[in-house]
């Protein structure tokens, strides 16, 4: 890229300064372990909803969705729809009971429901695996983005994002992050919406041209295929589409950073209401990426042909709006993309650090034991450094594709655990463990095959690229069957736990 880099540099600098500034504001307020992990559960519903959305809208939403829409067309609309609908599934079956369970993390939930240290350990391993699988493409994407926007070498992105996340998380924990995330939702919305409006105005002013009118007929797919909502067409396309739907609809509830967010709600009802607000905020945001996809098809089809579609959002404003206006808009989208990298990776780092802090660094090692906050800080160093190091060694992969695999893994492990744990009393520790391992190994192997042996053709490739449609039913079936085989008389703590999950907090009940 030969174009000026100053707008992007200014934008990124502003985001960094604001993030660290709001973060240090929170630092003065964070004192206890509970502050660090769940902001002491005192966040109002609207702030919390903006924070959930700000954290959730990763680079896959900000950059990846528009790029996929440019290259593949309408079938990629299932990504944003699924990412939003996942919250409806979560609201309908999980949100309030999960909050009422009173646990910090997914392993806490598993232990409270099943009273089993083994299941807890399996959950901890899975949280770390899913968290790293999600962090990896974010760090890789940060490298590519900063490389394209600022002309920096690829290693700067992962290293820079990782260090800022680390400073912020170890500094203020959840309290400061909540404010940062809420701010970043509105920032990301503005950064995507304003350039989209300006570009739409330019397009209308140009007399609404299409690709052919501008002489850009080098697009890889024709118009009809581009509007086909089934990937690849035929039965494989049908499988891919439904598998994507399954992974996104059920994966949301199993993502470690989303689940941790729910514990910051004061009670079950607030959890429901903030989920409703989240759906609204996400719906608003996801109306915009298709605009980039469609305008990109008109003004920048060469990006799809060159396999650089992830950069569409960053490069399009300059291609459409000439001169200073384009520079300013570019600065805005670069800053928004950087905010997207920061917010999601901060949330994931907190979730992984929380688990590591409780189950690894918080344990007694060689006769010494770290305090709660110190263990959390050491945990966050491990949580960030490992995926950043992998990203440095392996700089490229489609952001949305790898994120899709993280969703599939969450959907195949924690989704059945949460659904059965909340609604099905006969679930036993042995059943839960067997199901978690089955789902984790199945979807994990599929992810490894897809990431490291790309190019597997035919149904094998299709089944490993989107494992959710077979791995979720498999994990659920194993969980149910093994539970029935190891069935015991209902324990009193299960009865108490069910009372706790499903009754409103306003009632003074013995919740165990």
């Amino acid at each position: 890229m030969t174009a000026a880099v100053w707008p992007g540099a200014v934008g990124v600098a502003l985001v960094v300064v604001t993030t660290l500034g709001i973060g240090s504001l929170g630092l003065r307020l964070s004192r206890t372990t509970s502050d660090f992990m769940v902001a002491s559960r005192s966040v109002p519903a609207f702030t919390n909803a903006a924070a959930i959305s700000g954290e959730y809208l990763s680079a896959a939403s900000f950059l990846g969705a528009a790029g996929l829409l440019l290259t593949f067309g309408a079938d990629m609309l299932w990504y944003p729809v699924g990412w939003t609908a996942g919250y409806l599934v979560m609201l309908a079956l999980v949100a309030a009971p999960l909050r009422r369970s009173g646990a910090y993390t997914l392993p806490d939930f598993a232990e409270a429901r099943l009273d089993s240290a083994q299941v807890r350990t399996i959950c901890s391993v899975l949280v770390v695996a899913i968290g790293w699988l999600y962090l990896l493409p974010l760090f890789q994407g940060a490298g590519v983005t900063l490389g394209a926007a600022l002309g920096l070498p690829t290693w700067v992105g992962p290293a820079g994002v990782a260090s800022i996340v680390l400073v912020n998380v170890t500094g203020g924990g959840m309290r400061s992050i909540t404010l940062v995330q809420a701010f970043q939702y509105w920032f990301k919305l503005t950064a995507l919406l304003v350039p989209a409006m300006v570009m739409l105005a330019v397009w209308l002013d140009d007399g609404r041209p299409d690709a052919a009118a501008l002489g850009r007929t080098d697009f890889p797919t024709d118009v009809l295929a581009w509007s086909d909502p089934l990937a690849a067409g035929g039965s494989q396309g049908l499988y891919l589409t439904y598998s994507l739907i399954a992974a996104t609809f059920l994966g949301t509830m199993g993502l470690p950073h989303v689940v941790v967010r729910f514990y910051t709600n004061p009670d079950g009802r607030t959890a429901r209401r903030s989920t409703l607000l989240v759906l609204t905020l996400l719906g608003l945001f996801y109306l915009i990426p298709p605009v980039y996809g469609a305008l990109g098809r008109v003004y920048a089809p060469e990006l799809a042909a060159a396999g650089e579609s992830d950069l569409l959002v960053l490069l399009l404003p300059r291609l459409v709006v000439p001169g200073l206006g384009g520079d300013v808009l570019t600065g805005l989208v670069v800053a928004g993309a950087f905010a997207a990298f920061l917010s999601t990776s901060s949330g994931l780092a907190i979730a992984v650090a929380g688990v590591l802090g409780q189950d690894v660094t918080g344990r007694t090692w060689a006769g010494r034991r770290l305090g709660g906050v110190a263990a959390f800080r050491l945990g966050s160093v491990i949580a960030v450094v490992v995926p950043a190091a992998v990203a440095l060694g392996e700089p490229s992969a489609g952001v949305a594709t790898t994120v899709g695999l993280a969703f599939a893994m969450a959907a195949s492990t924690f989704a059945p655990l949460l659904l059965l744990g909340i609604w099905w009393r006969p679930l036993t520790p042995a059943g839960a463990a067997a199901g978690l391992v089955t789902g984790g190994v199945g979807s994990g192997l599929a992810a490894l095959v897809t990431l490291y042996l790309d190019g597997t053709a035919g149904w094998v490739g299709v089944l490993t690229a989107r494992p959710a449609l077979w791995s979720i039913p498999l994990a659920t079936a194993v969980m149910v069957v093994v539970s029935l085989l190891t069935r015991q008389p209902e324990a009193p703590h299960v009865r108490r736990f069910m009372v706790r999950l499903h009754t409103p907090e306003a009632l003074d009940l013995d919740r165990g």
Binding site: L88, R269, H502
Partner: protein, 125 residues
């Protein structure tokens, strides 16, 4: 200026503890009636969630099948934009919010009914 001293004002935060609520003994004692009520609440909430997701499955989940069975639908244009872009890019979001809003309202009503039942039960004692 008056010689009167300003009145002392107690500076407090919002109350940390709510006033004592009636204990709901039936549930705690795990009487048949109490656990019956809890089970009824759980069943009601589960059924509500399943119905909400049923609407989601019928509304969104059948779209791929529809486009698979009737491929010509993808070519239909509405206001210059192809039908799939409307059906997947715009329409789902307001519907999702509507379904969520309805669910929240109903779920809270179920809980209120449950609380009301327990209160009546305690009053009878």
């Amino acid at each position: 200026m008056t010689a009167e001293r300003p009145q002392r004002v107690r500076v407090t935060g919002p109350p940390r503890r709510r006033p004592p609520r009636p204990r709901t003994r039936e549930v705690d004692a795990e009487s048949r009636l109490g656990s019956l009520y809890v089970r009824a609440l759980v069943r009601e909430q589960l059924w509500l969630g399943v119905r909400t997701l049923g609407v989601l499955a019928i509304g969104l989940g059948t779209l791929p099948l529809l486009f698979w069975a009737l491929p010509w639908l993808a070519g239909v244009r509405l206001l210059g934009i192809a039908l799939p872009w409307w059906l997947l890019g715009v329409v789902p979001y307001p519907l999702l919010v509507l379904a969520a809003w309805r669910f929240v309202w109903r779920a809270e009503r179920n809980e209120d009914t449950f609380a009301e039942l327990l209160r009546e039960l305690d009053d009878e004692r």
